[in-house]
């Protein structure tokens, strides 16, 4: 008698265990997304026919978390990409990126099969876009010209064009400073004037006409600031 009671209790325990396993129907998997570094609106992520607009955080610098509207069932594959991106070997180009930024998967792949991992947690990181800052040096005959963008991103040396006799011709020389992030100021200055022969170079062009400016929307549209002119006399 005692034994049979125990047996019944055991049977009950098994029933309860089974119910906790599969009683609620099929397991489903939410597609969680965490985006870091997002500063501007416009990012739309897409997978399995669903779109998810991700907006910048209320507090700058914080991560944004979001979940796709529909969950996946066990065994369904997913690949979270910027909407409309071209996909080649799980590398995503173009698509609905935020303004002035480029976001890409980080840490983990953005694709897989539901159930492969206990939790689907897609990670994207966004970086500000950089644009070209370049121009021409005219009349350069001396050596040692060094251009700087203030204290930002290093200095650039420019050498004169030489003819076959190694004589400087003073012909225009193209130069490029290190690229400048969107919405950041730049101010190109002559750090070291050329010598032998000694020359004085001045900077013009850029957004303000004197080698300075901001990498703003107009500059972004033009693919950067390419109209710097350094005149050496």
């Amino acid at each position: 008698m005692k034994f049979s009671l125990a047996r019944q209790a055991f049977a009950l325990a098994i029933t309860l265990t089974l119910a906790s396993c599969g009683g609620g129907g099929k397991a489903t998997f939410p597609i969680n997304v965490t985006v870091s570094g997002l500063q501007y609106p416009g990012l739309i992520l897409s997978t399995n026919g669903q779109d998810l607009a991700v907006n910048p955080p209320a507090t700058a610098g914080q991560d944004v978390t979001a979940v796709f509207p529909n969950q996946l069932e066990y065994g369904q594959t997913y690949e979270v990409t910027p909407k409309g991106a071209t996909i080649a070997n799980h590398v995503y180009t173009d698509g609905n990126q935020p303004k002035h930024q480029q976001c890409a998967p980080t840490l983990f792949p953005a694709y897989g099969t539901a159930g492969q991992l206990a939790k689907i947690d897609i990670r994207y990181a966004c970086a500000i876009l950089y644009y070209e800052l370049s121009g021409t040096v005219n009349g350069l005959k001396g050596t040692g010209l060094i251009l700087a963008n203030g204290s930002t991103a290093g200095t650039i040396g420019v050498n004169p064009v030489l003819d076959t006799n190694n004589t400087p011709t003073g012909a225009p020389v193209a130069f490029a400073m290190n690229p400048v992030p969107y919405n950041t100021t730049y101010g190109v200055t002559v750090l070291t004037q050329p010598t032998n022969p000694s020359q004085t170079c001045t900077v013009t062009g850029g957004g303000n006409g004197t080698g300075g400016g901001t990498m703003d929307d107009d500059a972004e549209k033009a693919g950067g600031v390419k109209n710097l002119v350094v005149t050496c006399q």
């Binding site: 700087a148 963008n149 203030g150 204290s151 930002t152 400048v180 100021t185 101010g187 002559v190 004037q193």
Partner: protein
């Protein structure tokens, strides 16, 4: 019997090869790593108190002259730092050598920072914006001093007017040799440029 002799022979041979490969002090592993924020000569590293190694241009990496063997203890320390560095620290510099640990070594320096101050003279209207590269400052009317972001010792600076104030024209002078607000930050603590508005 035969097989045990063979086995012993193989083991002995393997041991001998292993030992010869190690070579007692000049093993098969290069002790190397990356360096960050080094801009000039002066960084000298040591392993186990010797094998002094200078980090030279372009100051991105180092490699000790003596190789080490697997399981050798290495202990990398900074012997001296460049004159413009505040400090240099070794990361993962103390371990037993193997293919993993020798790939984890790095040295990070921090460069001394110096104040850059802009004195403003004669500014009576609004709208002046001055920059040092990406460091931007709006300067209200009547301002006499603007503290710019600090600058690396031996690093370039170039203060320029991004936007002139309404009705006035400002020019930049002072700083380094060219006297136009640009120069290279010396070891002295303060550098001042002057912006004169008329």
């Amino acid at each position: 019997m035969k097989s045990s002799i063979l086995r012993a022979g193989v083991v002995a041979l393997a041991c001998a090869l292993g030992l010869s490969a190690c070579g007692g002090g000049s093993g098969d592993l290069y002790l190397a790593g990356v360096v960050q924020n080094v801009t000039k000569d002066g960084l000298v590293l040591q392993n186990n108190g010797g094998d002094d190694t200078n980090v030279v241009y372009p100051y991105t990496s180092f490699q000790f002259g003596n190789r080490v063997s697997t399981d050798d203890q290495f202990d990398i320390k900074v012997k001296s730092i460049p004159s413009n560095a505040r400090e240099c620290t070794v990361n993962n510099g103390h371990a037993r050598a193997n293919y993993y640990t020798i790939g984890q070594i790095s040295v990070t320096c921090s460069i001394k920072q110096h104040a850059l101050t802009a004195n403003i003279v004669g500014l009576t209207t609004s709208g002046l914006v001055i920059i040092n590269g990406a460091d931007r400052h709006d300067v209200p009317a009547g301002t006499t001093t603007v503290q710019m972001a600090t600058v690396n010792e031996d690093g370039a600076y170039g203060v320029t007017v991004l936007q002139q104030p309404s009705g006035q024209a400002c020019t930049v002078s002072g700083g380094g040799g060219a006297n136009n607000g640009t120069g290279t930050m010396g070891a002295t603590e303060t550098t001042t440029v002057t912006i004169t508005c008329t």
